[in-house]
Subunit: 417 residues, 2 copies
């Protein structure tokens, strides 16, 4: 089933909020074979919505809209759709009861503006919102075109998609197509170098299979899709195994769709080892990425964000003389940070970073983007100097990815010995 | 000037990558009065691109496309546009020289696939890409419709927008309209409560002014826009001051568009104070948010991510008996974490978190989402219990925002005394 999402909101077009709902909805509906054809991000005006709806209903049977259902003056979706589908707004005691319930569960009192959420179109099916005050509206045309309007707050959108909207959509359109997807993640290799290695194999792929390259700093995800029925399952497994065998082992991060932090947690769990972090320029990003994974508490001992030199020496026991002689951004200091945190946290493996994230602080010898990194384990400590181009955000992001990949490499090497 | 962005890529529709380029471009062009009408996120097929271009060129003079220019097989933009505008691909020695230069600056060798980037449409103006291998293509129709195709990798897109594309667009379409924008940020108050307080004032706004509510967990940004010429500047200042005076002082976080972490750094800088963090369930997210702000090094001493009890007692000096008696998620422990880190880092103010981020680890007494937080300063220490609904990501995000707001409140209270 093909569908289109219309994301409504001036704040999306102004770049003040990023639309993450569409991607999350796509990931949710994809296992059922639903294909997102297009996303239109539009302003919160009746004209923009009318135009986008006409364009979308021309191309797809199902149109999902997000946003534009809030109680404030700048949300106009409900009125516009009600009118377009030829209905009028009526008061719904059931919706009011639900809104009151949601508001009171938050220990708040229902105010007049929020109570207006109980005005709903008489020509729509109403799906009660368990986690917010805007009811979900389901419009249907005689030609089987379905438009579902849901709130735009990501938590509400995704909770309600999962609990009620997705089940209702699959019930309404039960026919399923099969999509078989394998994802393999390569690291420390460029998209074009990978494409050259895989070129012959890719050109020989059967008609039903398609591969896409999804590069991110430090990693390239290879997504192998097969469209067909059950008969392609074995063939797709074989193609995945071929793909894996073609990637140089040192560049193969994972044989499933996972982030470096997820792969790290998995490796640590398998080997019953623990990790610790000592961060200067990355400022806690490595730790927070590790902790973003459920189950991190079993393998993550803890970390220190050692932004100042006092903390590097006072907490991590970096030699103050070395700090003075070599500077904080140096091989000597970063190695002492790594061994210091390994000792302090009593962990099996540790990573440390010290660098210049910018925009200030660069020198001709150590320009912005210069980062020393060290990995320490019971096998010893080793450090490496890297330089990441770009803005502060980018330096921090790339340096933390590189640190996670270094830990993965250390653990992989551990096994080879 | 109104414009439309077409973001190209199967990975965007599959929800594997989020389109952040459109928002960044919107923020970049907005000071010049450029208004983003719509964003269309489409698949990497010739049909989707042709359809989207026809729809976009109907409505706007300028269409910007991002993505679809990579060297791999799944990118088809260049061929499609070349054909649509009636040209053919020719080899450009200048582009090849530039591609070679970019590749060699990364200490890599130019491979065949990347060299293909030198094939460019003979009917397009070519803008050399300083930071990547895909050249930027500028097509122009006799009716003044302009289509600019740029790469989709965010770093390349934004660097090239800033350096070359934005200047070229402003030169090509020099007429500017005035948009005056004021943003005020409220905290710890719901959108609907705020809307009720502001209702009368909002209804009385002059024709040229419009206000939008942009809620995020913990904060609501209020964006007041005025469209007109220079004559509205003073009136817009007056409206902003009125808006500020209507918000309860305890709920006014900032009178400019800034995040809690930016406001915190600003307050600390003004008062010449330093901060430290001790995080359990938030896992380094508070530290990384503080460090994401340029200049953080002047006010951030450092932090400890104390995920295990050993680290809480060994590094932060939490009493092991209290850990056993009260549990890690308790007022007693979180207050000792806050005073412990204040002492360890020799900071002026500190925040600590201890809670259950989930999905596992919850109990009937302390369900997932239970978080104790403490703020310590020279004035003493105080703690508060909060409960955040939702997934692990959401608990961590909301808890770290609440911690930053607690620090801001502590610093604001400091001044009032």
């Amino acid at each position: 089933m093909k569908y289109i999402i219309i994301a409504i909101g001036d704040e999306l077009l102004a770049g003040q909020v990023t639309d993450t709902n569409s991607g999350a909805i796509a990931r949710m509906l994809e296992p059922a074979g639903w294909e997102l054809m297009r996303v239109e991000v539009i302003a919160d005006t009746a004209e923009a919505l009318e135009d986008a709806l006409a364009h979308a209903m021309r191309d797809a049977h199902v149109v999902l809209t997000t946003g534009g259902l809030g109680p404030t003056k700048d949300d106009r979706t409900k009125q516009t759709l009600c009118r377009l589908f030829g209905g009028t707004l009526i008061h719904s005691p059931e919706v009011l009861a639900n809104v009151r319930h949601v508001v009171e569960a938050r220990s708040l009192k229902l105010n007049e503006l929020t109570a207006l959420q109980s005005m709903v179109p008489d020509n729509a099916r109403i799906i009660q919102n368990d986690v917010g005050t805007a009811p979900i509206l389901w419009f249907e045309r005689p030609d089987n075109r379905v438009v579902v309007c849901m709130p735009g707050v990501p938590f509400e959108t995704l909770q309600m998609m999962e609990r009620k909207i997705k089940p209702a959509l699959l019930e309404r359109f039960p026919k399923r197509e099969t999509l078989i997807r394998h994802t393999v993640v390569a690291c420390n290799i460029s998209e074009s170098n990978l494409a050259q290695i895989l070129s012959d194999w890719e050109n020989a792929l059967p008609e039903f299979a398609h591969m896409a390259y999804l590069p991110k700093p430090g990693v390239v995800r290879l997504r192998l899709d097969g469209h067909g029925d059950e008969s392609i399952v074995c063939e797709m497994d074989r193609l995945r195994d071929q793909l894996i065998s073609l990637i140089p082992p040192a560049n193969l991060m994972a044989v499933a769709d996972m982030t470096p932090e997820e792969r790290l947690i998995q490796l640590l769990g398998e080997r019953k080892l623990t990790v610790a972090t000592a961060e200067s320029c990355t400022g806690g990003t490595i730790a927070s990425r590790i902790c973003s994974v459920a189950g991190a508490s079993r393998v993550f001992k803890g970390g220190v964000v050692a932004y100042s030199n006092e903390v590097k020496s006072g907490v991590l026991h970096v030699n103050p003389l070395d700090l003075e002689r070599c500077g904080a951004v140096s091989s000597t200091v970063v190695e002492q940070m790594a061994t210091g945190i390994l000792e302090l946290m009593q962990a099996d493996v540790a990573v440390a970073t010290s660098g210049i994230a910018g925009p200030g602080g660069g020198t001709p010898e150590k320009p912005v983007g210069t980062v020393w990194m060290a990995v320490a384990s019971r096998r010893g400590v080793r450090s490496v100097l890297r330089n990441f181009p770009g803005t502060r955000d980018r330096v921090i992001d790339r340096a933390s990815t590189a640190a996670l990949l270094d830990l993965i490499q250390e653990l992989s090497a551990d096994v080879e010995r």
